[in-house]
Symmetry: C2
Subunit: 415 residues, 2 copies
């Protein structure tokens, strides 16, 4: 089965919004083995929308349309569908009742514009909308099925999952070959070093494919395969993943949607250890990332953002002479920050970072991007020097990633 | 002049990446008055790419292509261009020299695959690439100009700005009517309350149009107009902006790319005031946002993230009895955090937040989303109660936005 995706809306063609709907639908169709060879984007113009739909219908079994189903005069997807099929729009009583019920439940009144959304091309059927007023429309013409969904992402997502994907599957959208991916997240290695480590695997490998992507503060490896079933795909991917992991070891910190802060959080919780942070150049980002994880209060006691030297002395006990002699961006100060934070808070571990986030404040000796990260435990204090590049927010992010990765490696006993 | 955008890459059709290139090009063309009626996306398949380019060329003066210019066998945009024009690809000496120089400057070696990128359809010209190896290609056929750019966003952005837009302008892309937008950012008001405040302006206004968008922790108003020149557009937008600002006053905190942390930072710097933060539920997010601004060390002395009650007592001097009696999510504790932070740090102002970020930890009396934000100055301590909804990261963000907005309103003398 082949499908084509049509995104409708002048705001897309003006670049006012990014077409994340097309990404979402593409991904869901690929997961279910539906081939997508083309996507088209068109504005709120009846003639051009009809031409676009006709072209899509001429080359795909299913045409999935988003946008243009709203209540205003700009919303013309219904008219275009009726136009290409050559039928009239008529009010669908079930759709009208759903709209009224939806609005009533929210204490809102029904008006004529809203009820326009209940009109459906003759012979078409509606797809219910749990999250909004505009129902979806399914209409067949000339051997192709046209499926129109609202442009509001939350409404579209639910309708695609609840109704469209099962519908396509029932029509033979499965169980064709499916495309499945798995992402390995790496930290502590750059793209070129990674290339040297696994170049032979990359070159010898065609199914599943392995594609490296640069990520901020690390690298990703995307393993992708096409297989007859989800189970077959998983087996093929697992084999390659195992091969890569055997080579890469602890450079891989997680998979798919996993974040480094979630991985570190799970490790701390499992070991019943607590952590604190002492941040200068990251300005609270490390603490912010740790607390993005629900349940982080079990292992994160809190932290300090010591932007001024005065605060480094007051909150962490860093000796002013030390900062005067070595500068606040230095190995000794990073270590003193970590030790002070750990001792004063009573946490098991403390991560500290001091550096020059830029774009100003750099010198030839201490350029923008120079960062010291220290990790204090009961046993020791370790410290790493980094030279990061990029804009201010990138340097902050890379520092936070390196600091969290130090915590992870320490917990693994590799630091 | 009309242009059509063609995005090339199977990874787009699989939903592995979102097509932000199309958004960027659309926006830049709209700003310069180039009409875009269609966009197409196609995979790494020569036949389908040729069909897509022919269709685009049949209806647009200029076809802007991104992707498929890399060094691998999958990259077939050069072949497709040669195919539709009906010419051969030949090595361009200037392009080859640029690629060699680019790699040499980075200490990288030149191989055959990389030099494939120097091939250009006969009769075509190249557009230099400052940020990568693949040059752009410009080739004319049948009254349309085909402009191929790399898919890497940073390379594409620079080439579009440096070369393509001036080229289109020289070819008559200007000075047609242009589309211009301006965004007003609001804080402290919801979409429905805003609708009541300016409903009459929204209804009476057709050019420029005014469109409200919900944003996390606020609302945006996008003012858009079409005009003969940039100056005309600016005049029309300024008139409507003035009308909106007269009604909305300090609810508007910024425009276009301005962030609340940047606005607050500028105000603090101008007034030579310093600030500190005491965060519980936001976990460092407020400090992180303040320090995203270059030069923030002039007004941000630092802050604390006191996630545990013990740390609230140790770092801020909040009395344990107070937390026991009222709970750590309470008005009195928020105020004590702000007062303690200000007194101990010596900063002019302190912002403090305590609340339940969820998804766990809520009770009937203190549900997820309940947040207290306090602001201490030399003169007073003020405190606001909020009931935010959404996921954990949304509640954190909304709290940080409300806290920064309290600082802004206080500095304006409105709190």
């Amino acid at each position: 089965m082949t499908a084509e995706i049509v995104s409708v809306g002048t705001e897309l063609l003006l670049g006012q919004i990014t077409d994340t709907n097309a990404t979402f639908i593409s991904e869901k169709l690929a997961e279910r083995g539906v081939n997508v060879y083309f996507r088209q984007t068109v504005g709120d113009n009846l003639e051009r929308l009809c031409a676009t739909l006709r072209l899509a219908g001429s080359r795909a079994d299913a045409v999935i349309i988003t946008g243009g189903l709203g209540p205003t005069d700009d919303d013309i997807t219904r008219e275009a569908l009726a136009g290409i099929v050559g039928v009239e729009l008529k009010q669908d009583p079930q759709a009208a009742a759903s709209i009224k019920a939806f609005l009533k439940a929210r204490g809102r009144s029904v008006n004529a514009a809203t009820l326009r959304q209940a009109r459906v091309p003759e012979g078409g059927t509606i797809a219910p909308n749990r999250h909004g007023t505009a129902p979806g429309i399914i209409v067949e013409h000339d051997g192709s099925e046209f499926i129109a969904l609202p442009g509001v992402p939350s409404e579209m997502h639910a309708m695609l999952e609840d109704c469209v994907l099962p519908h396509l599957e029932a029509r033979g959208g499965g169980p064709g070959p499916i495309i499945k991916s798995r992402i390995l997240h790496l930290s502590g290695v750059g793209e070129s070093a990674l290339g040297e480590m696994i170049g032979d695997i990359l070159q010898g490998q065609s199914d599943p494919t392995i594609a490296p992507y640069a990520a901020l503060g690390g690298v990703q490896l995307r393993i992708t395969t096409k297989a007859a079933s989800d189970e077959d795909a998983s087996t093929k991917i697992a084999r390659v993943e195992q091969q890569l992991r055997a080579r890469l070891g602890s450079l891989v910190f997680g998979t798919d949607d996993e974040t480094l802060e979630a991985v570190v959080g799970t490790m701390l919780a499992q070991r019943r250890l607590t952590i604190t942070t002492a941040e200068s150049c990251t300005g609270g980002l490390i603490a912010n990332r740790l607390t993005d994880i629900s349940g982080s209060s079990a292992y994160f006691v809190g932290g300090v953002v010591t932007y001024s030297n005065q605060e480094k002395a007051r909150l962490l006990g860093v000796a002013p002479e030390l900062m005067e002699q070595h500068g606040s961006v230095s190995e000794v100060v990073a270590k003193a920050m970590a030790v002070g934070a750990r001792e004063r808070s009573g946490a098991d571990m403390a991560a500290a970072a001091t550096g020059i986030a830029g774009p100003t404040g750099g010198t030839p000796q201490k350029p923008v991007g120079l960062v010291w990260i220290a990790l204090a435990t009961q046993e020791s204090v370790i410290c790493q020097e980094h030279r990061f590049h990029g804009a201010r927010d990138q340097i902050k992010w890379r520092t936070s990633q390196a600091a969290l990765n130090m915590v992870r490696l320490r917990l693994l006993g590799e630091l």
